[in-house]
Amino acid sequence: MSLQISDLRVYYRTLAGDVKALDGVSLEIADGEIMGLAGESGCGKTTLGNSLVLLDGRMKYISGEVLLDGTPLPIADYEAMQELRWREVSIIPQYSMSALNPTRKIGRMVDELLHSRGRQYKELRAELLRRLELVGLSADILDRYPIELSGGMKQRLVMVISTLLDPSLLIADEITSALDVSSQKAVAQTLVEFRDRKFVRSMIVVTHDVSILYQISDTLAIMYAGRLAEKAPTGVLMEAALHPYTRLLISALPEMGSRFADKRLMGIPGTPPSLLNPPTGCRFRTRCPLADAQCEEQPPMVDVAPGHAVACWKVT
């Protein structure tokens, strides 16, 4: 499957006006690719992930096109998307661990979910059990209540349920954030395994944790204030990022070798702009050390190498 997003705009309705959370993002994902979508809070990554699956009451689709295997994905149409949700496009939402109904046994919950999609629990039970075993959960989990499981177990459970119908596209939204380091590794590796075993064709992994993405994603896209800053194969991005924001962001990450006493890492001064009235032109220019008058015009996303695109005047 392939996914093409062209100039997608999704805003939030608020009393004070429209928050331009997603303001013109274009992406492409190939078959079998795991794309990491990273950025800080308010950058629009969760909005992008969610808008591909479900536009909730406050989200307003403005413009842009999404093509799934060449056919348009009707994201603005709730009814049309109902057919595709879970089957073609699926999501592991943020806080999904705490979204399990505490009064339902797991098995009953899965049964109800399947029933709502017109599938029978019986026909999928064998596959469900097989996949549970694959992620290291025993079959008796179906008789337990969510409260009896640990965070990592719940997360793996939600991953199995979300991919039970073998969707073409899976969006994983901050699935490792609330977990311990060892569970994070298990969950992240499970994601890759799902792709390798073709339970899922392609994935978008949304997170603020770039180091996890380095471990599992094929390509990385960095977002800032509702727009895409840079996109490249993961190794290329980590070693040779071009956009000033990406470079500053990566250099602000403490990793195992660096120590304060030896070398102070620098953060990025300032805060992201308000998305109610974002500045014209490049949204990073208020914090960018390289910014000048040219940056008052929005830089286009330009391919500097095959698969590597940047939106910055100073680079292209």
């Binding site: 928050v19 959370a21 809070s41 406050r58 805060t271 998305l275």
Partner: protein, 298 residues
């Protein structure tokens, strides 16, 4: 989705103006609140102004017996020639008083028990819970009958006291639950490590966070107290002197207003109680929608 909330807006007006503005915006657009508040205020006005324009003992025999409303006696007279309007306005006053007093007593007890149980936890919580449950299940009617047997004369205050002492448990439970969840928040820990005493933590950190909830609880207790008072009066367990809307209804039914068709005697108090209590409950729902943004439809 926290994108909208995460937007920091340094040029936004200060919070209190913003909040008030938002509150008024919704309050004005909420017919529930407007209409019910108006109704309550009208009755309150009657209760205050009525006795001023018709002073004197409302139970005095002043006019023709059982006459329908006319220009002198706006609500007509009872079978004994008492001015129904005078009774009504004094009655409204008494009803409001009983409601306010009873509601306040219940609110105070409920708050004290709820806050202490929710904040302290442990053994204190267990004991207070037990007390709450016991008072909850006491059959208040039976208790009242026993008390009535011992008290020859009862006034509004005693009635209000009784209502206040028996209707607080649900409020205590609700406040306890809210306090429980607030007490785990980190600003409470911050206050404690600043050396703030428990009493001050409850009063100045936790209670202000629940102010809208406490207000709504009081409204419900107020309305509930009025209803209970009217019911008690109606079955004859009310005050032995004075007048209230419930007492009016009691008298109306006892002295044959129904078969005699004296609608002007039993309708006003009935409508009065229904309107006031109903408005209070509807206002509660309306205010809840204002205070709790999630209940609003955009």
């Amino acid at each position: 989705m926290t994108n909208a909330a995460a937007v920091t807006n340094p040029s936004a007006p200060t919070e209190s103006v913003g909040r008030r503005r938002e509150f008024l915006y919704f309050a004005i657009r909420r017919p529930k609140v407007l209409v019910s508040a108006t109704i309550i205020l009208v009755f309150l006005a009657i209760g205050i102004i009525g006795p001023i324009i018709r002073p004197g003992d409302p139970n005095a025999f002043v006019g023709p017996l059982a006459s329908p409303p006319d220009s002198t006696y706006w609500f007509g007279t009872t079978t004994f020639g008492q001015d129904v309007f005078a009774q009504f306005s004094y009655g409204v006053r008494a009803t409001f008083l009983a409601g306010f007093l009873g509601g306040s007593i219940a609110a105070i007890i409920g708050m004290v028990v709820g806050f202490v149980a929710g904040y302290t936890g442990g053994v204190v919580d267990e004991i207070l819970n037990m007390i709450t449950n016991i008072v909850f299940v006491i059959p208040t009617l039976a208790l009242l009958m026993v008390i009535t047997a011992y008290l020859s004369a009862r006034g509004i205050v005693v009635e209000a006291l009784f209502i206040g002492l028996t209707s607080w448990p649900w409020a205590a439970r609700a406040i306890r639950a809210q306090t429980f969840s607030l007490a785990t928040r980190e600003f409470v820990d911050l206050a404690r490590i600043s050396g703030v005493s428990s009493r001050r933590v409850i009063l100045s950190e936790i209670a202000p966070n629940m102010s809208s909830y406490l207000f709504l609880t009081f409204i419900l207790l107020f309305g509930g107290a009025i209803l209970i008072a009217a019911s008690l009066d109606f079955i004859g367990l009310g005050p032995t002197e004075g007048v209230s809307l419930g007492l009016m209804m009691y008298n109306a039914v006892a002295w044959g207003a129904l078969p005699l068709g004296l609608w002007w005697w039993f309708l006003p108090p009935g409508i009065g109680i229904t309107a006031v209590v109903g408005s209070l409950y509807v206002m509660n729902v309306g205010l809840d929608e204002i205070f709790n943004p999630r209940l609003r439809e955009m």
